[in-house]
């Protein structure tokens, strides 16, 4: 990951030494020691191009770089998103790793976030053009290419689909390299379904077997009601030649992983995206430490074989 700040992004020594102690307007000071190789602790400036409402509490932020190269990322990685003066939160990237606009320029950086705290509120309420800070990308990838030649089972619910979306798009970009592709998706209510139209397209045009369920249905709802993990038992895939990618709350992932292993999917082929408190994203702050792991650098995507023992002890 290299970042070349735009021409005006280099501050001379006078700018660095000015009494206010700030770099001049265009951005990152070379003298401060991070212009050439991106300093992971310093946010790069992105401008909000659009905030798209997805559900009543979930929004997708489309960001374009102000004065740096667009970042490249691998499906499953996250960034630290910074609302100036408010704070910073780790958010998985939900866009297409190969995404381009119709003119061939890189697609905006996408993050789908739930409006649940001070930082996320500031982010989703920001007007287009507002600058936000981006650090990263950090963490491990779903590495779906490992599953070439196998069946793929994506198990997720609610906003958990957002971190999986880049992996699904990676698969769809080379759809014929894979066997069956299943997407088992659960949401609290039919109104909370994320990327509903896109999932229908995947089902209709990309040979994805999409199965949905909701926890609570209004009167007259015709779809399935129940937990997403209950779909695993009857889903049509060959367990011994499948990879599974699971993203959701820890209890849901535990239930999904045991349903998958019960059908015979090897634990080493079940990948989960773990969530822990994170402040730095680079393994230094200690917040996401889980026994021998730092989730931000060793994860967030981890094999079930590795994390299963860590998911059975309460409050570990």
């Amino acid at each position: 990951m290299t970042t070349a700040p735009a021409d005006a992004g280099v501050t001379d020594s006078a700018g660095f030494a000015n009494s206010a102690g700030f770099a001049n307007d265009a951005g990152f000071a070379n003298d401060a020691g991070f212009a050439n190789d991106a300093d992971p602790m310093v946010p790069r400036r992105y401008a909000i191009t659009r905030v798209r409402g997805d559900t009543r509490d979930t929004f997708t932020l489309l960001l374009d770089p102000v004065d740096c190269e667009p970042l490249t990322f691998r499906a499953g990685q996250f960034t630290m998103l910074h609302a100036f003066g408010v704070g910073e939160v780790p958010i998985s990237i939900s866009g297409d790793p190969r995404g381009v606009r119709s003119d061939g320029s890189p697609a905006p950086l996408e993050h789908t976030i739930r409006n649940v705290g001070a930082v996320t509120r500031a982010l989703v309420n920001a007007k287009p053009g507002t600058e936000v800070g981006v650090r990263g990308p950090f963490g491990t990838s779903w590495d779906v290419a490992d599953a070439a030649g196998h069946d793929l089972v994506f198990v997720t619910g609610g906003i958990g689909l957002a971190p999986l979306r880049p992996a699904i798009l990676d698969v769809l970009a080379e759809r014929d390299r894979y066997g069956k592709v299943l997407l088992l998706y659960g949401s609290r209510t039919p109104d909370d379904i994320l990327y509903g139209a896109e999932m229908r397209r995947w089902a209709d045009f990309n040979d994805v077997n999409v199965q949905m369920t909701v926890d609570n249905a209004p009167y007259g709802y015709k779809g399935k009601v129940g937990f997403v993990t209950e779909l695993i038992a009857r889903a049509g895939f060959q367990p011994r030649r499948s990879y599974a990618f699971v993203c959701g709350p820890e209890g849901m992932m535990r239930a999904a992983a045991s349903a998958l292993t019960a059908r015979g999917v090897p634990a080493a082929r079940i990948r989960l995206s773990m969530e822990r408190s994170m402040k730095c994203g680079v393994g230094l702050c200690g917040h996401c430490q889980l026994r021998d792991l730092f989730i931000c650098v060793d994860g967030p995507v981890l094999d079930y074989a590795r994390v299963a023992p860590l998911m059975t002890v309460r409050e570990l």
Binding site: F28, A32, G133, K279
Partner: protein
């Protein structure tokens, strides 16, 4: 063959002046109020001469020694941790320009990188610095400020002759006499090692030279030659200090004991006494957890990001949307001691405890890491009752 020199007490001032003349900021033990802390040493008078200490669970008192010893105390209240890793520092400063549509600029703060001379650093704390080097400086992502501050450090270590009742470095293999080399990097651990020798007629320091820089320093202050006999006397002093230590952790078994104890009922017993006050993590020389504090002015134009020491004992530490991962005190105590005595080894190749005993001294409830480790060892069945009785 080690280069042995002898320093008289009057030479200490010369050594400090020599380090200052070479551009070093000299940092060492100094008295502040009723405690010995790590601070700036401007002259020899800043060293806590003639002062000793007594340390017990939840107790720390300074004493008058009456023998004029310069290093006649055990672990200072605070280690050298803040020298390279301050409790709070600015990561970057930013400014937003409202007239230009919320355009903001960010400038990385740079660490003041004046090279430090650690004077009188004890074996336990020196080992803690080596551990921090691995954690903060020798991984893929480095703490830039720590790395800058550690650059060019000169180490004038002190072999500890006065362990407190809370010390257990001997059992951790980290003292009281420091290893010649950092076990991870194989770099020399110190430039000079001083052992303070006081008897009825004489007060001097046996100096063991560890590096070429150390030799230059010794030459510059014209430290006279010593002999192997002097070194033997120094080793006698630290051997005696090791033998006087009463606490210990069985470092061979403790990694597995902690791993097996994840669901132990003993955590409830500790939690009933633990106040989750975070003292142990603040005085621990290896604890490195930090949080981010973003502060801004009222207009929202200027903002700063601060990196602040944090503690796994606070409920906010593990907070994610929906609540903390570790809600109970027992889970937080388990996290802390298990990281120190077990997962640290999986992550970094050594235990995260150096046996300085500060967490015992500064725990207001007197919770003793050695007792808790021993209790868990007995309950896990990995350590026999007979062995445990020795602790």
């Amino acid at each position: 063959m080690t280069d042995i020199r002898i320093l008289d007490p009057s030479d200490l001032g010369t050594l400090i002046a020599e380090l200052q003349a070479r551009g070093f900021r000299v940092v060492g033990p100094t008295r502040r109020g009723d405690a010995i802390v790590t601070g700036e040493i401007r002259s020899v008078s800043d060293l806590p001469r003639g002062i000793g200490d007594t340390q017990e669970p939840a107790a720390y008192r300074l004493t008058e020694r009456g023998d004029g010893a310069f290093f006649g105390f055990a672990a200072p209240a605070q280690s050298t941790k803040p020298v390279f890793f301050p409790a709070e520092e600015v990561v970057w400063r930013g400014r937003r320009d409202h007239e230009r549509g919320g355009h903001f600029t960010v400038e990385r703060d740079t660490a003041d990188a004046v090279p430090v001379a650690l004077l009188g650093v004890r074996s336990c704390d020196l080992r803690a610095v080596q551990i921090h080097d691995q954690v903060l400086s020798h991984r893929h992502y480095k703490d830039a400020h720590y790395t800058a501050r550690r650059d060019g450090t000169v180490v004038i270590a002190v072999a500890c002759g006065e362990p407190a009742a809370t010390c257990f470095c001997a059992s951790m293999g980290t003292g009281p006499r420091p290893a010649v080399a950092d076990p991870q990097t194989r770099e020399p651990a110190y430039d000079l090692l001083l052992t303070e020798v006081i008897d009825e007629t004489d007060h001097h320091f046996v100096v063991e030279v560890g590096t070429e820089t150390g030799r230059e320093l010794a030459d510059a202050i014209q430290a006279r030659k010593g002999t192997g006999k002097d070194q033997a006397r120094a080793i006698e002093i630290t051997d005696a200090a090791a033998n006087r230590q009463t606490r210990h952790i069985d470092r061979k078994s403790v990694h597995d004991v902690m791993r097996l104890s994840a669901e132990s009922p003993h955590w409830e017993a500790v939690a009933s006494r633990c106040l989750a006050c975070t003292n142990c993590t603040m005085v621990c020389p290896t604890c490195f957890c930090t949080t981010i504090s973003d502060v801004s002015d009222l207009a929202g134009e200027n903002a700063e990001r601060h990196r602040v020491w944090d503690s796994c004992f606070s409920s906010e530490f593990s907070y994610v949307h929906g609540g903390p991962t570790r809600e109970s005190t027992k889970a937080r105590y388990r996290q802390w001691i298990t990281h120190k005595l077990s997962s640290w080894e999986d992550q970094f190749g050594m235990l995260g405890c150096v046996g300085c005993g500060r967490c015992i001294t500064w725990c207001p409830a007197g919770i003793d890491i050695t007792e808790e480790a021993a209790a868990l060892g007995r309950m896990s069945g990995l350590v026999s009752t007979q062995n445990a009785a020795l602790t």
